[in-house]
Assembly symmetry: C2
């Protein structure tokens, strides 16, 4: 019997989450039994969708339970195995994050062939955020082609930075928005044609200036003012991939929606929400393309990495204050 | 030289249109020249989309011009023809409404084979509103099938009553909403499984009660509270055909949108705006199906018919006060 350090949900956040909403504690960890595997986590993920699971309400995934260890994406290495499909040293992906080690049945974890990529890539560009970007742009928004303009919000985020680069690979003109001069500079670095600092002024007029002929695709990570601005800037038949609305996740009261909803009719907008797991059966298409793009240097990534399980609550909070740059990770 | 009676746009309405926004006047009408046809109008159409054309702003159709005769759908009969494709007595469809007679080039009017239907049907179920219902439900909302629930707002309107009946023909459960007991009774008469009187209480709780398992399709003619209620009631992957948002057409200030926009992501809603003319190339598919459905009595319609060109402004205003029942027409 050893002990692990883990993060538990102490109380359901009201509005913006706080450090005090979490407990960091030690828990006993039994040795793996028959069919089980022991894993030491290497990298832990924090993601905006986790905020939704902190509410006690029906959704597409059940809410986190109070007093229980949090769940989340993690990349680890097998330290002991009683499942013939896993060997010591294997790199595995799981949802057993927010802790430094765990024991699980082999069927609940996935072995990863890294093909030379660093293991943390499988929490970012080569993992769930990359797959979200890939299917969101190429399927939900019906792709994009040369001559079209793609607008991406939260464009330096884990998902956004990949969307921008896939859109460029497909030949589109790309407009990204992010908060602050450093992020705007990074957007230019990864190939965005126009980069908007949404903190520097009104997003609506900034987008109108950045895309004077309008936009054909909007990849929405933000909702709120960004969504309203995208509807104003949309060309007829524009496609919106609704990936997230981080602007709203911490609202204590429901915030009013865009005041320009009637544009959906006149402009024939197609606005479609999605969840990456809807495309789980097509994971291999994504894995093949993305591995090639990363290996060839066509897709670059930038992460923010904090250290130690105790840093998880703080890392999570950074998602809502813009404190992260690209994928937010914790190295165990 | 004869004279015609015609309705002109006197000033652009602010908020709810008023009778004083229109002028009814006489104008000279020359005899038809080479390639021209003289037509006496039989029925004139008023439609909600006309409100949008009264604003001076860019849209999918140019704004109406001040001081000029209004345009709109009309069914008439040829009284003289200098175009070999038209004969005296032919029934024709045109956009030369809001007047009792006109002269036009043959290429600007369409001859109608009525197949035994009354001519005014081609301004309703067999015309633009019917075609809007048909392609909106069957294409934009991806159709509907037995076991699915379809929610229709403004369900006794010219478009709504056809949507309800096509959805029933396809085997769906249909929930319609309309204002007042008489309209609710009519919805039951045309086969709606549940009918909501939105004036009798909160649309959100009424819809939750009428469709306890949720809705798969929303055909939106109203926007506003109806749209928000439909998002709350939507099942995962529900499809929304955005046909109109009459609740908003007369707003002097933009009204806030639904406060539950984030549901688009979690429920993977597909919300798609459309304009019937987008499907112009497929008119014959619609004409064939609808003629069969009307002839067989599978689709019934109810119209409101006022009389005389002078009644046009008043007939138009009824669209926004619920004063019409089904298709709003004026018999010349």
């Amino acid at each position: 019997m050893t002990t692990v350090r883990e993060v538990r949900l102490k109380r359901r956040p009201v509005g913006m989450p706080q450090l005090g909403d979490f407990d960091v504690a030690e828990a006993p960890l039994a040795a793996p039994g028959e069919g089980e595997v022991a894993v030491k986590n290497l990298f832990l993920s924090v993601d905006p969708y986790m905020r939704g699971r902190m509410y006690d309400r029906p959704s597409y995934v059940p809410p986190f339970e109070l007093g229980k260890v949090m769940q989340g994406g993690a990349i680890g290495q097998v330290t002991a195995s009683h499942d013939p499909k896993f060997s010591v040293g294997d790199i595995v992906s799981s949802m057993f994050g927010w802790r430094d080690a765990y024991v699980a049945k082999g069927e609940h974890i996935q072995k990863i062939e890294t093909h030379g990529l660093p293991p943390q890539a499988f929490l970012g560009a080569a993992g769930m955020p990359g797959m979200t970007a890939y299917f969101g742009l190429l399927e939900v928004a019906d792709g994009c082609k040369p001559g079209e303009t793609v607008f991406v919000s939260a464009a330096t985020g884990a998902v956004g930075q990949i969307v921008c680069q896939i859109a460029k690979l497909k030949g589109a003109t790309v407009v990204g928005s992010a908060g602050g001069a450093e992020k705007v500079a990074y957007l230019k670095e990864i190939g965005c044609d126009e980069a908007i600092d949404y903190r520097a002024g009104d997003i609506n007029s900034a987008l109108a200036k950045a895309a004077p002929k309008g936009i054909d695709v909007y990849f929405d990570n933000v909702g709120g003012d960004h969504l309203a601005a995208a509807m104003n800037a949309a060309r007829p038949f524009a496609r919106f991939a609704e990936c997230g609305m981080i602007a709203q996740y911490n609202n204590e009261e429901p915030a009013p929606g865009p005041a320009n909803m009637a544009l959906i009719v006149g402009k024939r907008l197609k606005i479609r929400g999605f969840i990456v797991s809807d495309f789980a059966a097509r994971q291999s298409e994504f894995a093949k393309d993305m591995a090639a793009w990363i290996s060839s240097g066509q897709i670059k990534t930038r992460d923010t990495v904090d250290e130690g399980v105790d840093a998880m609550p703080g890392a999570f909070l950074k998602l809502f204050t813009g404190g992260n740059f690209g994928k937010m990770l914790v190295k165990v």
